[in-house]
């Protein structure tokens, strides 16, 4: 576990966002198993440290474009659990007002969040454009975005990093390498397992980080964000982790070797940070249990409110196509 200068208060914040994400996820999975879901949804289990650690490294004016396993980032940046459950359940109160599905379409420019689109890997060039707008206006702001290992095979990965390098854009790209793209293991996606290796050819910094270590993720992201803010250009960060459940709610992921999952289970990012916090005397199990309890209440309440909220009025179906 790396150590960087975080206050204990900050550490508890990091933990809270992780446990909130975990509790959200477990409740969401349960909801779908009970047949109360609408459409599909993506489990976030295993990705908590990346989405939370990275988002925590941003200032409020920075812009983030999360991907489909970055629930933690949405929560941390201020989208309430109720609005997210509303989205998942197609409610008018959902972030996209019932227009987009699961964790897609959850943009909110008031919160400096760019919504995700199914088509991989469009968050990258769009975030590059966001970063370019900061250069354009001489603002000391940074854009942060994410892609999966799978998304890194798409041409946009190359186009974006190349242009970001030439333009010296204040952009940070994090690859969440969770070993699989849906059912396809890494070795069928790429020959070299280190996606960060690409950075060298763009002449930009490339960093590999333990994606299950929230403080490590925070530290490398923070460094990249500050470099970008100071005119140092883009950084490519590869966070290694494991997708602990199926690709989406319907997927049992029988194709993943059970030993592999067991090995990663031992490195569970939430449990690991919990142990770290206790062993270093930063907090104790009681306080952590209280946080979990708080998260449970928040999520249970959000689900109840979201489920009770109405579907969109069909008469509004044509609204909002144009600005």
């Amino acid at each position: 576990m790396s150590t960087i200068s975080l206050t204990n208060e900050q550490r508890l914040e990091l933990y809270y966002w992780m446990i909130l994400t975990r509790v959200f996820d477990e409740n969401m999975v349960a909801l779908w198993k009970q047949g109360r879901g609408v459409g599909g949804t993506f489990s976030q289990r295993g990705h908590e440290a990346i989405s939370v650690g990275a988002a925590y490294a941003l200032g409020p004016d920075d812009v983030i474009a999360p991907m489909h396993r970055d629930l933690g980032a949405y929560l941390l940046r201020g989208i309430t659990p109720q609005r997210i459950f509303g989205n998942l359940l197609g409610r008018a109160s959902g972030v996209s007002g019932g227009r987009d599905a699961n964790l897609h379409g959850m943009g909110d420019l008031n919160l400096n969040i760019i919504g995700f689109i199914s088509h991989l890997t469009h968050s990258l060039p769009v975030s590059l454009g966001v970063a370019m707008s900061f250069l354009y206006r001489n603002e000391a702001r940074v854009a942060l975005t994410f892609t999966g290992d799978g998304g890194s095979s798409a041409g946009l990965f190359h186009e974006t990093l190349n242009m970001a390098a030439v333009w010296n854009a204040p952009l940070v790209v994090i690859v969440e390498n969770n070993q699989y793209a849906y059912s396809t293991p890494l070795n069928q996606q790429m020959k070299s397992p280190n996606i960060a290796d690409h950075a060298a050819a763009y002449a930009i910094p490339g960093v590999i980080v333990d994606g299950n270590d929230v403080e490590a993720v925070y530290a490398v992201t923070r460094e990249a964000v500050e470099r970008a803010r100071q005119g140092g250009g883009p950084t490519l960060i590869e966070a290694k982790t494991m997708r602990m459940l199926g690709h989406a709610i319907h997927d049992g992921a029988e194709y993943v070797p059970r030993e592999l999952l067991a090995a990663w289970e031992a490195r569970d990012p939430v449990q690991r940070y919990r142990t770290f916090l206790c062993e270093n005397g930063i907090t104790d199990e009681d306080e952590l249990a209280e946080l979990t309890q708080r998260a449970e209440v928040e999520i249970t309440d959000a689900i109840a409110r979201a489920e009770a909220s109405p579907l969109p009025d069909p008469a509004t179906v044509l609204d909002g196509v144009y600005a």
């Binding site: 987009d100 849906y182 059912s183 044509l318």
Partner: protein, 343 residues
Amino acid sequence: MSTASNFGFSDIETTVDAGRELTYIAAISEALREEMRRNPNVLVMGEDVAGEFGGAFKVTKGFEAEFGARRVINTPIAELGFVGAATGMALMGLRPVIEMQFADFISTAFDSIVQFAATTHYRWNGAVPWVIRAPADGGIRSGPFHSQNPEAWFVHTPGLKVVAPATPADAKGLLLAAIRDDNPVIYFESKPLYRALKGYVPPGDYVTPIGQAHVARAGNDLSIITYGAMLHQALAAAERLASAGIMAEVLDLRTLKPLDTAAILATARKTGKVLIVHAANKLAGVGAEVAALIAEEAFEWLDAPVQRIGGLDTPVPFSPSLEDAYRPNAEKIYVAARALAAF
């Protein structure tokens, strides 16, 4: 036909009863497996098609075990590139069947399709006999990027062929025809029919010729021209219309490019009243071409305005209340047809 929401992820039945009643998706899988057995040049490629997994919808489950990794290729997420690669294979005489994970992602491969594959034979006689299987259509609460019906883009593009089976038998017959065709063919499969629709599928080598529409129900009072999942909504509407004494003819286009203009004009001239229905955006959709064709070449036979029902000019919304407002169905068809009959 129901719009069951478990449209896609369970395994496909592999034991076929004597009556050969197969689901729509089982018919696709059977056609593909049988053609791979017959023709060593046929291969499948796409995201997650290999291994025990066998594709997002399990169409190719067990294929790698039977045909080997050489003929069942998992691709990285690189639609533009892997369709381009399929074009190279096809130029060398192989017959790749490419699975798009969802039809919505076909736009990612757009240039490879509309610029390279579609033009190559016209430009330098390079035949490109691939097929793209594109799991299309909505009504299943899958939102704007897992519900699209993008066929109009390709019907407008010279050099392609486009098919859209509506029944298990045609799912098999058109897939075999598509694979054997020497041109790039886009095969739009209907996700809402996958496991919800069962029907008789002829055994063995059964081909539905490309370019031939099918009169799914005969009638004299008006014509409903449609394709894909909407065929079943149209048939349901026609049934209700019949109870009201209105005899609708239902034409299943089956092939969208080249259109069966003879069949379209025949039904238009026969009934003089035409309602065109598809799930895709009505605006500048395939139905516009059908309507324009009729307005051009069957004008003197027409007794009423040519009507169209299609999706709205919005992305496909996710929420059930909005998607139901977005999407044509038997009720909307019935209402429009009654008005048309009364014209």
